[in-house]
Symmetry: C2
Subunit: 191 residues, 2 copies
Amino acid sequence: MDTRTALLDSAERAARQRGFDAFSYADLAKEVGIRKASIHYHFPMKADLAFGLIERYAQRFSETLSNIAASPDPAAAKLTAYRELYRDALADGSQLCLCVSLSAGRDSLSEQVLGELNRFHEDSIAWLERIFEDGHEDGSIANVDNPALEAAATLALMEGAQLVARAAKDVALFDQATASFDARLTHTQSH
Amino acid sequence: MDTRTALLDSAERAARQRGFDAFSYADLAKEVGIRKASIHYHFPMKADLAFGLIERYAQRFSETLSNIAASPDPAAAKLTAYRELYRDALADGSQLCLCVSLSAGRDSLSEQVLGELNRFHEDSIAWLERIFEDGHEDGSIANVDNPALEAAATLALMEGAQLVARAAKDVALFDQATASFDARLTHTQSH
DNA sequence: AGTACCCTACCTATCACTAGGTAGGTCGCC
DNA sequence: GGCGACCTACCTAGTGATAGGTAGGGTACT
């Protein structure tokens, strides 16, 4: 496999599990099977690695959101899919999604990475706002007063639910925290 | 001032601003005005410092919640007060509350500190559940279906809102994320 | 075909620095 | 005299980063 990709994979897992500052080039080197110094060939500074991580992550996430939005399902189903994204990222309760992890350890990040992170948040909120508007129109989401505010609330809810679930290492907490949100969605049984 | 308290104060601010792993005994020593090694007299290991922090924090928070609960105000007003707690902790958008900060950097914490953190979360949810029950009865909180789930959602919302607001260094994001929540509360104008 | 050159992708060895932590001494106060 | 509170001085084990070397592949000119 491509070494650069292997490094990104290993770093992403470490960052999501332990935080970006909590893993070292030595950890990475051991896992990927090259020497510590060789990592600097691919990522001269650790900030470059952080940027590489968020760049790839944002791109993947963006594609996923586009795919969800493109489906002919009602808006409620799209929000359910969105929720699943965050739920799945928890794995067995030991991982955070990268944006939550980086948000939490914000301080050590470069200005560039921070900008990318904020852009990711803005994109997510814009996407959600659109879905809430659709859900208001097609009636699949209950009580939509202000799509923009609902979008901001949803993002915060997902990130917060992930945080508390990971703290307790218990995915059930994520489900509890998002259950009321889920109850607003009209689930049309399709089989 | 008491040196131990000064150390806790300095450590708390540092932990909330930069994360528990991101400040060192050297930073603390410089700020408090004693030598690095002297800190070990008060907190032999950094884990002891972490425990001291969360212990004091949990106790303070518990008292605050008790005071809020004891007031004769409607349940909605108590939730507003709860929201203010998290909002105020943000300061100018640069700080998290201690539990969010520690949740985020969970990995480096001792089992003991982790237990204390989870207990804090449980207590918060129990407190919130009670408030939601009251709010359902006195009618000051709209659409209360399941108090336990609402409680979990509220905690997650607050922590998540704080996280995204801090990431963007903008308190307005906290307000946006919690606005829909606030809209469910009946605000009785008293003057 | 041979040689000169640059490239990628690693390596060894070491850098300067910081982390948390320890040993042992000093000083004032009850 | 003992103890609380602090000091200087040091240690070990890391950290990210750098310097300089090397094996092997491609390209280009003669």
